[in-house]
């Protein structure tokens, strides 16, 4: 059994917080690597970087920005609903707000936020120097940014999507204006980013793990990100197809969803939820991976029942493709299919139970250290079990039909998505903040952040269970005072403001940390994974010497970390010429070769700009112009493929 270490134990960390093993390695090759991995300063560097940490940080900042915008739209909605028959916003704006809130939170916050952590920490955790396809990585960020701006630009134009985030046809086929074209084009555009991002993460995790990191030594977070990425690759096509058909129906009067001409309005629902249900886990799995990272660190024990946790993660990814019809129990499908999907819905709850009790077992086996990141992790368990039990209820078809499309469902999925994703993401932010910025946060401020956010979250969403059971449908811009919903709505609104205050405090805590000079050591928490064997913040090349991984908890096994010092004179591990990284085998991470890696380039930005031009031209109906932009994309991509690092 591996030994655990205390946080910032004085014995093995030098006074300036540098791990002695890394100090030795840096002394040997640090200067040469700094030169090889140097980046252009200033704006040029900003636009041309392909470094996974800078891109990961951008993902986090951009997603947080979109989170803020979507959160503000939610606050406006809650203000409208604070009392019956309010007219702070008109129905048209309200419909745009709730659609944009849902669409943006799912597509432009949760998934990219996960991607930000994956981008920054997956390469660090597997012990490599960059993502497998650094230029593709830059491309996926730029597309994410531009598609998000495209989507949000619709709101000031008064043309934000207004068909609900799942945009059911034929309503969305019939709504005039550009609103739903922003939706279908924006999501198609974003899908390019998500797809290439997912492939990049999969390849990085499979081909670039440090020597010795066999599959049974891969951190749970990495398993979760890889599972999520595979899910994205398989779940996005149905959504893309659906959005393409919607766009064609709206613009060229095709008849995919036109029931009067033999089209089918339920087809959209099948396609959408075939994407939509896996998407819940696309959002939640990496967040759960963050929990599986935080808890062992602060319980000071390796994760309990690791093989089960990994199996549960992968099983969730697979089963999630077989439960979509439980979103459609009121459609009037046959009882046979309802029964089947009820059973599937129950089945998918099993893997979640496994992970839940693995975390609890980890806590009981260790000695728990409480700090902000850990509080968020514990808060996650509380919220997620409450969202989980209401999820199981939907397997009871009659009950589901009673509460679906009511505020009960709104409560449920906010417990799952806010409790199951936002709380872990905040936990991850507090956990990795010292690594990302090199600064420690004020713990007292962190605890305030947790208390306000957790209390605000519960006060906002718990009463929605009740208003839903009392018969309040979702997506209504106002309600009558006679139905007994008023008090619950007022509570929810109060909670929303408390939650907003919590986020303001959270932001202040991070800003304060950046302004102060509390330098973070390499490994402030005494963690178990390789990301903490780097400088805080990591150098461009991450690891001066690629270590040999001897266990699932390389920083605790007493062998993996010293290997950094041992290998410091081996060219294959230091790779000091140019940008290079190790390629290893998929299953047992044996060294295959040293790969040349591409350097800074502006090309991905050009591709993204041409794509943006194409999407905007499609939106305004300039199809010829869009075709020209398409040719531009093809030209730049051709140039890109010609200039591979190995060829240069």
């Amino acid at each position: 059994m591996t030994a655990t270490r205390e946080p910032i134990a004085s014995g093995d960390v030098a006074a300036d917080g540098v791990l002695p093993e890394r100090a030795l390695a840096e002394a040997a090759v640090g200067d040469r690597l700094k030169k090889a991995w140097e980046e252009e300063p200033g704006l040029i560097g900003f636009l041309t970087t392909v470094n996974h940490k800078r891109i990961g940080r951008r993902y986090l900042v951009t997603a947080a920005f979109f989170f803020m915008l979507s959160g503000i739209s939610a606050l406006v909605m809650r203000t409208q609903l604070v009392s019956p028959n309010n007219d702070i916003v008109d129905p048209d704006l309200y419909d745009q707000l709730f659609t944009l809130h849902g669409t943006a939170m799912i597509f432009f916050f949760a998934t990219p936020m996960n991607n930000g952590f994956g981008n920054f920490f997956l390469p660090l955790m597997v012990g490599t120097r960059d993502m497998a396809f650094p230029r593709l990585n830059a491309l996926s960020y730029w597309i994410f940014l531009f598609s998000g701006l495209f989507m949000f630009a619709s709101l000031p134009l008064g043309m934000a999507p207004n068909g609900g985030w799942f945009a059911y046809v034929p309503l969305t086929r019939r709504i005039d204006g550009l609103n739903l074209d922003f939706y279908s084009l924006g999501l198609l555009f974003l899908a390019v980013s998500s797809t290439v991002g997912a492939i990049n993460l999969i390849v990085t995790a499979l081909k670039m793990r440090a020597p010795g990191m066999t599959l049974n030594r891969v951190p749970v977070f990495v398993w979760a990100v890889v599972t999520q990425s595979f899910m994205l690759v398989f779940a996005l096509p149905p959504l893309d197809v659906a959005n393409l058909m919607l766009f064609l129906d709206r613009r060229f009067d095709t008849r995919f969803f036109d029931t009067s001409k033999g089209g089918d309005s339920v087809l959209w629902q099948h396609l959408f939820w075939l994407f939509g249900h896996p998407d819940v886990y696309i959002i939640v799995l990496p967040a759960m991976g963050i929990i599986s990272t935080i808890i062992p660190t602060f319980a000071r024990r390796p994760i309990a029942a690791y093989p089960f946790v990994v199996l549960a993660t992968v099983a969730t990814g697979i089963i999630s493709f077989g439960v979509w019809v439980h979103h459609m129990f009121a459609v009037g499908l046959s009882e046979v299919s309802q029964t089947f999907f009820a059973a599937a819905t129950l089945t998918i709850s099993l893997p979640a139970g496994i992970q839940m009790f693995a975390w609890i077992a980890t806590l009981w086996r260790g000695r728990v250290v409480i700090n902000t990141a850990m509080l968020y992790a514990l808060g996650f368990i509380v919220a997620f079990v409450m969202g989980g039990v209401t999820g199981v209820m939907f397997a009871v078809v009659t009950f589901d039909q009673q509460v679906t499309d009511s505020y009960f469902v709104v409560a449920h999925f906010h417990y799952v998505l806010f409790g199951g994703a936002v709380l872990p993401l905040l936990g991850g932010l507090f956990y990795w903040w010292p690594k990302m910025t090199g600064r420690m946060v004020n713990e007292k401020g962190g605890i305030w952040s947790f208390v306000l956010v957790f209390a605000g979250f519960n006060l906002t969403f718990f009463p929605m269970h009740i208003s839903g059971l009392l018969g309040m449908p979702r997506r209504i811009y106002t309600y009558d005072g006679d139905y007994g919903w008023t008090v619950w709505n007022a509570l929810s609104t109060a909670g929303a403001y408390l939650l907003g205050a919590g986020f303001v405090v959270t932001a202040l805590v991070f800003v304060e940390s950046l302004l102060r000079d509390r330098k973070a050591p390499d490994d402030p928490w005494g963690s178990n994974t390789l990301d903490w064997a780097t400088a805080s913040p990591p150098e461009h090349y991450n690891f001066p010497v690629v270590p040999t991984v001897h266990s699932l908890n390389p920083l605790w096994d007493g062998r993996s970390l010293p290997s950094m010092a041992e290998h410091r004179f081996e060219d294959q591990r230091t790779m000091t010429e140019e940008h290079m990284a190790l390629r290893t085998s998929e299953l047992d991470a044996r060294v295959e070769t040293v790969m040349p890696m591409p350097g800074d380039t502006i090309v991905p930005l050009w591709v993204a700009l041409f794509l943006t031009a194409g999407v905007v031209l499609l939106l305004v109906g300039a199809y010829l112009g869009a075709a020209v932009a398409g040719v531009g994309v093809a030209a730049v991509v051709t140039w890109w493929l010609w200039h591979r690092p190995a060829v240069e």
Partner: protein, 335 residues
């Protein structure tokens, strides 16, 4: 003396649990169209399922939260760490026990489906409900057409066929029956029984555009004899105006744009865009539940319905004040 302060995490679920109890109480006492005060067999099944599910769920939450919070508190001061891998614990609590619970849940689900799929006796009454943006067209088997107010005989199963004229709507009367969608190009068959006489609020539950919020209806459950006479009344042609003001109202109605959208049986008005108004005066509410049916609201609605229900399909009617009064008088008389 040493007293441990309860932590935030302990207090919150407790408070929230209290809230839920309070909610249930208000749900039963108030006028909420609550799923927890069922008045028919289908909602009964859903409500009793809920209480079973709620009991189990609350128990699971308490156990998991207690284990988590206790772990955090107890293990903070612990001197020892445990060396086992806890696989047995994880399998027992994460797989075996949940599998048993889920097995039970599945049985509950299947039993519920069985109990709600068909009524115990064959329904005598068939009602066709057609969703429109944003109102409900209601047709009875004998050809009677009305809107937004569905009368049913109490204690008898009623067959309902659901369809839509435009986009997807969903038919939901929380106290009587769970949702069933109304989908263009499809016809859904369902049923419900009202066990107690009364007025039950129903509402569209699938987002259907601007005025989704104002797409309500009432189900009036009444003794069979009352229902029969109501149906006979509704099936008859519109009442002939009895006053000169009402006669003028009829003339205005049939000679202006009113008649292009609305039908009043027994007159020349035969539009089919908006609700049938043959017996509009008998309904308790107007505009799919948005406003009460009284003189002031009716006049306001005809004058400019867009201020009441923005985006609805009825344009403002530019009638002279006298004409407006006449039309209101006429329509109010159509009981």
């Amino acid at each position: 003396m040493y007293r441990r302060r309860p932590s935030v995490r302990v207090r919150l679920p407790f408070l929230l649990g209290l809230l839920l109890v309070a909610a249930t109480a208000t749900g039963c006492a108030g006028e909420a169209p609550s799923t927890l005060s069922p008045s028919g067999p289908k909602s009964d099944v859903a409500a009793s399922s809920w209480w079973i599910l709620f009991g189990v769920a609350a128990f699971v939450c308490v156990v998991v939260i207690a284990l988590t919070v206790l772990a955090a508190i107890v293990r903070r001061r612990a001197r020892t760490v445990h060396d086992n891998d806890a696989k047995g614990f994880v399998l027992t609590f994460g797989v075996v026990i949940p599998a048993l619970v889920f097995g039970g849940t599945f049985v509950l689900s299947v039993m519920g489906l069985q109990r709600t799929s068909h009524p115990q006796t064959d329904p005598d009454t068939t009602i066709q409900v057609i969703g429109h943006q944003w109102w409900w067209e209601v047709r009875y088997g004998d050809g009677t057409v009305t809107a937004n107010e569905i009368h049913v005989p109490v204690g008898q199963p009623v067959e309902v066929t659901l369809s839509s004229a435009d986009v997807i709507h969903s038919f939901w009367v929380p106290e009587l029956m769970p949702k069933m969608d109304m989908i263009p190009g499809r016809v859904n068959h369902t049923w419900f029984t009202a066990d107690k006489a009364g007025v039950y609020h129903g509402q569209c539950a699938e987002y259907c555009g601007l005025q989704h919020a104002h797409m309500g209806f009432d189900v009036v459950a009444e003794p069979k004899s009352d229902f029969d006479s109501w149906l006979a009344d509704q099936g008859s042609d519109a009442a002939t105006p009895t006053s000169s003001l009402a006669s003028r109202g009829m003339d205005v109605f049939t000679s202006t744009t009113c008649a292009t959208c609305h039908t009043i049986r027994g007159t020349s008005a035969d539009g089919d865009v908006g609700p049938d108004l043959t017996h509009v005066g008998s309904r308790a509410r107007l505009a799919a539940g948005a406003i009460p049916n009284d003189r002031g609201h009716l006049a306001g609605w005809i004058g400019n319905s867009q201020t009441v229900k923005p985006g609805n399909r009825m344009p403002p009617q530019h009638l002279s004040p006298d004409d407006l009064q006449a039309v209101v008088t006429y329509l109010e008389g159509l009981t």
